[in-house]
Assembly symmetry: C2
Homo-oligomer: 242 residues x 2
Amino acid sequence: MARPSRASQLPNLGESIKEAAWRQITESGASSLSLRSIARELGITAPAIYNYFSDRDALVTALIVDAYASFGDCQHEARESHPGPGREIDRLRATGIAYRKWAIDHPHRYLLIFGNPVPGYEPPMQELLPVMIRSLGALLAAVGELHALGRLDMEGVPHPSLEPGHRFSAIMETADQAELPVYAVAMVIWSRVHGLVSLEITGQFPPFPDAGAALYLFELDSICRQFVLPPDHSATINRRMP
Amino acid sequence: MARPSRASQLPNLGESIKEAAWRQITESGASSLSLRSIARELGITAPAIYNYFSDRDALVTALIVDAYASFGDCQHEARESHPGPGREIDRLRATGIAYRKWAIDHPHRYLLIFGNPVPGYEPPMQELLPVMIRSLGALLAAVGELHALGRLDMEGVPHPSLEPGHRFSAIMETADQAELPVYAVAMVIWSRVHGLVSLEITGQFPPFPDAGAALYLFELDSICRQFVLPPDHSATINRRMP
DNA sequence: AATTTTAGTTTACAGTGTAAATATACACTG
DNA sequence: CAGTGTATATTTACACTGTAAACTAAAATT
């Protein structure tokens, strides 16, 4: 008995493996996923998985790619739900709201891609970069269009210069030099949003009901107030004078 | 041969185990630590460790407690390095600076206590709460004294109400109801600082030289500008009128 | 129909955490 | 000092993990 007849085996085993992996991850925590128990759940033997994923790491990478795709979809959909001129702030806020919603709906996926890496896992950047860029591209676009309208307040934001040889250099080399501060602002926004969300997801939060939602909305407001200039008003005027 | 003579064994084996564990963690990543390889490094057998730690989890807990203690020391030292009245902002900033410095000096310790938890590890809150409270107490004190001086701008900060039965309820029940917004502000500050630092530590950062330091200083400034009112000025005056 | 490829199985090996039984060095007691 | 008890290790054993190698039979191709 070396191979069951096709009738008795489920089609699309590759996808089934990933599904089982997600099921396990979402209940038993992040990196306690085991090839053997996946196989058990699917009624096959463990080495059979190696026909679809060369490695445990390869499986993890596939999961990460899927997670990034799902996250990226969610981000871009949110942004595109407020089309048209004059709604740039709505687009920025919508991506922010969607960020937390997706993270709370899929905490383990969030931690898988943005948390600290799985034990021995070294992420293959070449494979992950495209999906990473796309998923964070929504925020970048939202900030970028505000900048294009002259409505981005970059006061005090450090103007970065390129560092060659870094893992993310590929992203940056294509960018316009003049837009580098936009990246810096996006980075700050991302870090704030990530800070709150990751603390909330990992349970390191105060015992206040709806604290997550309330603090998150407060932070979105803070972000808009700090970085977004009011529309029109001809040029840049100092809006804060003590 | 069931037990080597005391001359040939190292004293304080309990501490030696933790040291070996740290050595392994700092080089081979967070949760790839193995009792057997610790034993190998110390020239003993694996089950001997069970005389000092009832579990692999117990060892991890001990490491976490130590990490919190080191982190807490660092935080309080930073705060106390600017004593005296009129230097409240210095104290707040110093704890902020120290926060990142400690995290960068001990990235694995940082991820161990503030990152996503180790695979199957369920943190024993009863044991960890005291060290957690103490370590975050420095920030809380820095924010609290500003509040006591009427220099804390809590505009828009959500006023939380208590939620019973939460893991952290013990902390909060002792707190003055009127000081709850102080906790909220401290929480926001912590989340911003944690967001930047955790992204920097896990390598999810743009390829800009010193981006971490520059963005971090920018965020500290943002925090002070948003939450700290200028001294004196009799009462509270609206400093932002558009 | 013969051959090759595909997609599984079985077997095996080196890891891991940990429970149970065992043995000995040391500290106490009679 | 002899005898006992306890602390601290070792040995052995078990269940679990990822994964490499050999093998086998179903399906596709020639």
